[in-house]
């Protein structure tokens, strides 16, 4: 039943998931997308971005500066993604990754 206008709507059900954010040099874009999909991510959002960090140098002016890749996943998937990043990319590439708890509407879509 719909709530009458003006009154408080029914509370929306949310699920706690992990938001994994990876900021990396743009040359890695396709590889990182393949990596998170391989780990079990169902979707992702990618932004072109600029920034500065300890490495400073990028491999190509043509490929753009950095990309920021975000995905909403279950806790175990987030851990796998981080482990794979550490193993394959952290040593030689400019990569930053972090995980946050987020409350997500329709959370079952992402697991």
């Amino acid at each position: 039943m719909r709530s009458p206008a003006g009154s408080t709507p029914d509370p929306v059900q949310t699920v706690v998931l992990k938001r994994v954010t990876i900021v990396a040099e743009a040359v890695l874009e396709q590889r990182l997308i393949a990596l998170i999909r391989d780990c079990g991510a169902k979707g992702w959002t990618l932004l072109d971005c600029r920034g500065e960090g300890s490495r400073g140098v990028r491999a190509s002016e043509w490929e753009g500066a950095n990309v920021k890749l975000e995905t909403l996943v279950a806790s175990a998937v987030a851990d796998t993604i981080l482990a794979r990043l550490v193993r394959d990319y952290f040593e030689h590439f400019a990569v930053v990754a972090y995980v946050q708890d987020v409350r997500v509407v329709r959370g079952d879509k992402y697991i």
């Binding site: 002016e61 500066a65 590439f93």
Partner: protein, 320 residues
């Protein structure tokens, strides 16, 4: 025409002056910089235009005329990374991986330098073989592959060859160039239809692109302070040595004075579009500051400003 007069004509071309404007803009910390999408768009335009132009000429040229230049191009493409690598290891004392990464850049071609050489020759009224741009792709691919192979010979590890080859052969720069050559060769006289877009505005687009290249090159100048004297010496010496070898080989292959100049410039130039991406993926442990600074901040401006007239002078001397 005297060599100094040619050098002066080169320095006062709109392309080189545009490049200078970009350098000035970066030095005075101006906010001048082309939007990234425009830079990428202009790259696509320039590569395709060069490819189509070369393809049309390639379609007209008899096989006998191109077979010798093609063989020489492949030979230089395989050999130049080896002598660059040897010089970087022996004289430069660079690590095997860094030496190979830099050698990949100097073995392959800077398409913008190649194009600037063509517009220089047009401006001074010297004809050159139109199929030269088809040779660019043949110089580019073997050089990068040989250099990566050299690195992996001494430090066998993680190069993913499938990915690397795909990056080199099917990366957008090579694909656009080869695709353009195919379009030009297949279309033949029908390529006239796209001439108003791909030929007439070409130099204007190149000038715009070079303003941005000036900004990008000058921003890397700061890295020179940390890169060391040996790298700068290599970045200035390699184009002269490679250019002289290229001029000799071009003459040997039967190219005209103009064609020899273009070929010398191709061999003298260092890639900074295709090679960096391929090397970044194939040799991730190599230091990008070394190969980008040398090719982009030193060799590219050197070739653009003084190298091209020098290679032309060598070509004229060889043909005299």
């Amino acid at each position: 025409m005297e060599t100094f007069e040619l050098a002066r004509l080169n320095l006062t071309s709109p392309m080189v002056l545009g490049f200078a404007l970009g350098i000035v803009a970066a030095l005075v910390k101006s906010d001048l910089k082309l939007p990234e999408a425009l830079h990428a768009g202009l790259s696509v335009y320039l590569l395709l235009a060069i490819g189509i132009k070369g393809g049309v000429e390639l379609g007209k040229a008899p096989l006998a005329e191109i077979s010798a230049p093609l063989l020489v191009t492949l030979g230089i493409g395989l050999a130049s990374p080896i002598w660059c690598y040897a010089a970087l290891r022996g004289l430069g004392r660079f690590s095997a991986v860094d030496a190979a990464a830099i050698a990949a850049h100097y073995g392959s071609v800077s398409v913008v330098t190649f194009t600037a050489c063509g517009t220089f020759l047009d401006a001074v009224g010297v004809a050159y073989e139109g199929f030269m741009s088809a040779l660019v792709a043949f110089l580019e691919v073997p050089a990068i592959v040989v250099a990566i192979f050299l690195a992996r010979r001494s430090t066998p590890s993680t190069t993913r060859w499938n990915e690397t080859l795909r990056e080199v052969v099917f990366g957008k720069s090579n694909l656009l160039l080869l695709g353009g050559v195919a379009i030009g060769a297949l279309a033949g006289p029908a390529a006239e239809q796209v001439k108003p877009f791909f030929v007439d505005p070409f130099r204007g687009a190149l000038t715009l692109f070079l303003i941005d290249m000036g900004v990008i090159a000058a921003r890397r100048l700061g890295d020179l302070r940390t890169s060391g004297v040996r790298l700068v010496a290599f970045a200035l010496g390699a184009p002269l040595v490679n250019g002289a070898i290229g001029a000799w080989a071009g003459e040997l292959a039967g190219l005209s004075v103009g064609g020899t100049t273009v070929f010398a410039t191709m061999v003298a130039s260092a890639s900074y579009i295709a090679a960096p991406v391929a090397v970044r993926i194939a040799l991730p442990e190599a230091n990008p500051a070394l190969y980008l600074t040398s090719s982009l901040a030193v060799t590219f401006p050197f070739n653009l400003i003084v190298g091209i007239p020098i290679y032309h002078a060598i070509a004229r001397w060889l043909h005299a």
